[in-house]
């Protein structure tokens, strides 16, 4: 059938199984918005307050569901406002398709009104991008973008469509939803060699990242842990990949990782890493990282093998399929001595845990845990609250921790939580801070309009806490531009002004009352939760330091 380019865009999205798109209209996508109006019964469009919010919403939607998130923006500023969201998705390997309009082909390259070279700008932060110069390739380009976004190591793909291509007419025939490229296990010989290495291990440690979640390899991981009698740890991106209370699970590794987890990884003789990339926040000083350990590194992206650490065995392949082939080669093992060491580390960790009463970060998150169902997605922004969430949240189900890891994007949470809620249909929690929340709080409007059931737990300490923590520890308490105490923002009134409900909690009793209300509320509910500004995220591995430098308590 003959359709306009904009109709083809919307029909192809529907054909590819898209149910929700996030976006913001503008001059060079007005035709697409006309088509969205025409097909509004088949494809829901969520209008955000800002294109950045839309990009984070598409991201949160994708993280929570595993489906491709879709965002639409106009040319020029609309497109550049997507950049942070696209980069966030790129660093965390989130499947996303971004569609931008652009000026007509004849104006391209002449600095037309709201013209920007968005394919040039997003070149290093997309898996791939397209400028669709003619309508003949439009539908197939969109299909190709979906295939790329979800194949192998997922990531964002951008499609830039000049206005005349949206207006032009061309034949469109619906096609089946494209399947991601088939994934393969690593080579047999590599798996064999890795198995020998693991079978010889005395102190094995299983370490996973977000790639395990993408590959849905939880069962295989747990089976391996039981077979070789190994503790499990993860990167921040791996959180929720294994139930937090799984007995062998020691939690998160890295700069603010759980003490026992970080120490166990440090003491291991074989580290089996799956779908993780050994970011500097994980390794600290690479020269001193896990010096005594052989690393078996499994990743679908071959470029990750040897990029940051030098593995003894680099296995390029899908984590799940590789583990399926690896498991039968592993000997049933028992390591009582190693388990005793782990037990001792856990006791040391328990002894150093914050046991104070009152509104401490740990008590606040622990109280929140009581309200979470198995399926509640919890999104965060970036900063101290994010690390407290990563340390103390109790999550049961995969894809329920929605947090910007690689890029560390403050302002990510509002959009992401909206997207996660819309994708799962679940009430969603956003744990945020007063700094991060200030960046994209405009999306409260989106949450109100769409009656997004959302609990915003704002840990308000009146400072940019993470930077301030560094200033305290490493910059002689020069609190340069991290004190927000002079700000007069009343977050309760602010939320109410947007049409959301809100209350303030100065004590745990007030917090409990607020949470009761929030988890019964139809739409967004903000809790302005007072936290002391001198609360620190601990333990802490100083930047560039090793496990020998770990700070467990301030004042030690």
């Amino acid at each position: 059938m003959i359709l306009s380019g904009s109709d083809i865009i919307v029909r192809t999205l529907i054909e590819q199984g898209v149910q929700v798109v996030f976006g913001y209209p503008g001059g060079q996508v007005i035709n697409i918005y006309d088509s969205l109006y025409k097909y509004r019964d088949e494809l829901q469009h969520v209008l955000t307050a800002h294109e950045q919010g839309a990009s984070h919403a598409a991201d949160g939607y994708a993280r929570a569901t595993g489906k491709v998130g879709v965002v639409i923006a106009t040319s020029g500023p609309g497109a550049t406002n997507l950049v942070t969201g696209i980069a966030t998705a790129y660093l965390d390997s989130v499947p996303m398709v971004a569609i931008t309009g652009n000026v007509t082909n004849t104006v391209i390259g002449t600095d037309g009104f709201q013209e920007i070279d968005i394919t040039g700008i997003t070149l290093p932060i997309t898996k791939h991008n397209y400028f669709v110069g003619s309508i003949e390739n439009l539908a197939d380009t969109i299909r190709e973008a979906f295939r790329l976004a979800k194949s192998g190591r997922p990531g964002p793909v951008l499609i830039d469509v000049p206005k005349d291509v949206q207006v032009a007419k061309y034949d469109y025939e619906p096609q089946p939803k494209v399947a991601p490229d088939e994934v393969f296990p690593a080579k047999d010989i590599r798996i064999q060699q890795a198995a020998e290495c693991i079978n010889a291990a005395q102190r094995p440690f299983l370490y996973f990242g977000g790639g395990l979640i993408t590959s849905e390899a939880q069962d295989e991981l747990l089976q391996m842990a039981e077979t070789i009698d190994a503790p499990i740890g993860c990167s921040m991106m791996g959180i929720s990949g294994v139930p937090t209370d799984y007995p062998r699970f020691l939690g998160m590794q890295g700069m603010h990782g759980h003490y026992a987890c970080s120490m166990a990884m440090h003491k291991a003789d074989v580290i089996i890493a799956m779908g993780a990339r050994f970011n500097d926040r994980v390794t600290g000083n690479r020269a001193k990282f896990a010096v005594g350990a052989k690393i078996v590194h499994i990743d679908i992206d071959g470029a990750e093998l040897g990029k940051s650490v030098n593995p003894a065995h680099g296995l390029r392949g899908d984590v799940k399929k590789t583990l399926q082939k690896l498991l039968p080669l592993l000997k049933k093992q028992e390591h009582p001595q190693w388990q005793a060491t782990i037990q001792q580390l856990l006791e040391e960790e328990a002894a150093s845990l914050d046991s104070r009463e009152g509104m401490t970060p740990r008590n606040v998150i622990s109280m929140l845990n009581r309200y979470l169902s198995e399926n509640t997605p919890v999104a965060t922004d970036v900063g101290q609250h994010q690390m407290w969430a990563a340390q103390y949240l109790n999550l049961k189900t995969s894809r329920r921790f929605i947090s910007s890891g690689g890029l560390g994007t403050m302002g990510f949470g509002m959009g992401a939580a909206i997207g996660a809620s819309m994708g799962t249909g679940e009430r969603t929690v956003l744990i945020t801070g007063d700094g991060s929340f200030g960046m994209n709080l405009n999306e409260l409007a989106t949450a109100v309009v769409n009656k997004v059931p959302m609990v915003i737990l704002l840990l308000n300490n009146g400072v940019l806490g993470m930077v301030r923590q560094w200033q305290t520890l490493f910059f002689d308490k020069h609190y340069s531009n991290t004190m927000l105490t002079d700000r007069q923002t009343d977050f309760v009134k602010l939320a109410e002004a947007f049409g959301a409900q809100a209350s303030r909690a100065l004590t745990l009793a007030e917090l409990e009352e607020a949470l009761n209300k929030a988890f019964a509320c139809d739409g967004p509910y903000l809790i302005d939760c007072a936290i002391d500004r001198d609360e620190f995220v601990l333990p802490m591995l100083p930047p560039g330091g090793s496990m020998d430098d770990i700070i467990v308590r301030i004042g030690d």
Binding site: L123, P124, K127, H128, D301, G302, A303, G306, K307, N310
Partner: protein
């Protein structure tokens, strides 16, 4: 630092060279030589790139290249199995005192004089990079006015081709 050369077969579309070099820039791979040309097939262009670094750096480069959807095939080119050539155009001052020496050097290197004026001599030379480097060194005894070299083009010896790697 050790140099290595790879040939990259890419989709013949606008912007592809930019995608490849953008990755080099972003991940700080230094390019010491780069040539791009059409190939026996309209569908592909061939990029021959020389970079420097150890074996790990080379593997990283190749792995990162494979992640670009426009990259169809990559061949690692080892010196022994390949024929590698560069073309040099060099312009030196035509000084009557030394023009005989310049001519003799050019002849010894099988160079060809392609332009000759009262003020200047232009010599064309084809050879591997080392020969070209050596000749330029020799010319430094005289007054070099301008140099332009094409960068390396390389093919594997024998019947193997870059397209055969992935059955294109």
């Amino acid at each position: 630092m050790k140099k290595f050369t790879v040939a990259i077969l890419v989709n013949n579309q606008f912007g592809v060279l930019n995608r490849v070099t953008s990755m080099f820039r972003r991940r700080q791979f230094n390019i010491t030589s780069l040539t791009v040309s059409e190939t026996e097939s309209e569908a592909f262009s061939r990029i021959t790139v020389q970079s420097e670094g150890d074996e790990i750096k080379k593997e990283q480069l190749i792995n990162q290249l494979y992640k670009l959807p426009d990259v169809c095939s990559i061949a690692e080119l080892e010196d022994l199995d390949t024929v590698s050539r560069e073309l040099l155009l060099i312009k030196v001052k035509n000084d009557p005192q030394v023009r005989g020496d310049i001519r003799s050097a050019s002849d010894a290197y099988e160079g060809k004089v392609v332009d000759y004026t009262k003020e200047s001599i232009m010599i064309q030379m084809v050879g591997d990079s080392r020969k070209i480097d050596n000749f330029i060194d020799l010319m430094r005894d005289f007054e070099i006015l301008e140099i332009c070299r094409t960068g390396i083009v390389t093919l594997q010896r024998g019947s193997s081709t870059i397209r055969r790697v992935t059955n294109l």
